[in-house]
Amino acid sequence: MKGFCRKIPALLAFILTPSVALAAEGRIDTGDTTWLLVSAALVMLMTPGLALFYGGMVRRKNVLGTIMHSFIALAVITIQWILIGYTLSFGPDVNGFIGSLAWFGLKGVGVEPSSYAPTVPHLAFMIYQAMFAIITPALISGAFAERMKFSAYLLFILLWATFVYDPVAHWIWGGGWLSKLGVLDFAGGIVVHATAGVSALAAAIIVGSRRGYPEEPMTPHNLPMTVLGAGLLWFGWFGFNAGSALASGGLATVALVNTHTAAASATLTWIIVEWLRYGKPTMFGAATGCIAGLATITPAAGFVTPMSALIIGIAAGIICFMGLKAKGKIGYDDSLDAFGVHGIGGVLGTLSIGLLATTAINPGGANGILYGNAHQMTVQLIGAGVVALYSLVVSVIILKIIDWTVGLRIDEESEVQGLDVTQHGEEGYFF
């Protein structure tokens, strides 16, 4: 206690020292800054959107617990990010593997533009990236919906953000080794969707199937809520992908057009496939399809033409649909299809760059096979493969450790009663 008290002045000094200074705003472009701030807000909204998207899909008794998985990520990861996540991901590079702790607690991160985005305040780039770090672990929560202990979940996202997301973000966006290798990922096909998707697969298997799965019907309790979530996600995704241009203008515009196009074509493809396969096109399918299209175009949004985006969306609709069927065949319970949609979509999109990217769209990018450059595909394969493997291994380790210590799953009786009452002591609806 004495020791702690002696440390208070130092702590205070740290907290109070304004790393932020308002000097030299000369280079800041108001249009670009507005775009990045708006994009940050849009991406933030995706997390409540995801909460509703997932929340509508579970059974009524788990609606709050499921929503909470996304919502609490807003709290936990924001704080992790500001303290250590941002510096691990984007701080000064250490051997291409991780950012140094130089920017711990946002030290030195102020309103001066950074090298990442030279026309906007450094803090704007930081908070924009924070929103990505938040939603990524929340995506995983779909894999073990309706059965995870809340304390285990908190531990999981904290460790996962630190040991999976932050390093991978550094490798690809923070100047790390994969970016030096030339791996392209415009807005997070690898960093967000592949990491989340592969970890989701691991989690679904390690946590185990829901009680009663697959015999007992587990129909979504509120599909309009899921559609609302999908709508907010689509809306927010404009910030996610087009904001990743980190400036307003032509590239942001192309990314936005591609995002919308792929979402549309994946949606249509999905319901056509359903129609052919099951005789009826569903609203749930349309909502799922748009998310598959959005996840798939994410890495490619700033590298391909709108017509290519159209095709990427079609591919997303077909391949993610098939991916979803896999779980039935193989037999794991990826309850809300976090792997089927984000894992498969993220990897598919990453590889689509190797095929369809063109420097005519983005001179900072590369050409794909169809533009005469087969090399990029190899690079993309390496990028996706290494990250998938890394995410898998580290996720398994994290999950196992949690399982041995606090335990991953709620007990049988709690599962029957539902997360809401047993984990949170409250109920979603009193109708």
Binding site: P217, E274, T282, F284, T288, L324, G328, D337
Partner: protein, 112 residues
């Protein structure tokens, strides 16, 4: 006294209510239920997973009546609910030992 209870299709409720009023019924209670019988449910596919939805939404009516009115009430329900298609529903008649009007404490027939 008898309690006449009927499981019918939702969209016939209004007709049944009118027929019952015409038959002199002064009160009734309804509740949303689900059921199956001859009429089977349908297959629903959620993200490629097929669920057989066995239960169809129906509405259950309960009307307490003096013994002598039972047949009229049954006729009224049939006239309002029948479409001739499968799933039109069923009427169940129970014996009522007593009825109490809470407001007045009156019992028996006059409490209905």
């Amino acid at each position: 006294m008898k309690m006449v209870s009927a499981v019918i299709k939702h969209y016939r409720l209004d007709e049944v209510r009118k027929a019952l009023l015409d038959a002199g019924v002064q009160g009734m209670t309804i509740v949303d239920v689900k059921g199956f019988g001859r009429q089977k449910g349908q297959l629903e596919v959620y993200r490629g997973v097929e669920y057989e939805v066995t239960f169809l939404p129906k509405v259950k009516i309960e009307v307490a009546v003096p013994d002598e009115r039972v047949e009229d009430v049954i006729d009224a329900i049939i006239s309002g609910a029948r479409t001739g298609e499968i799933g039109d529903g069923k009427i169940f008649v129970y014996d009522l030992q007593d009825v109490v009007r809470i407001r007045t404490g009156k019992r028996g027939k006059e409490a209905i």
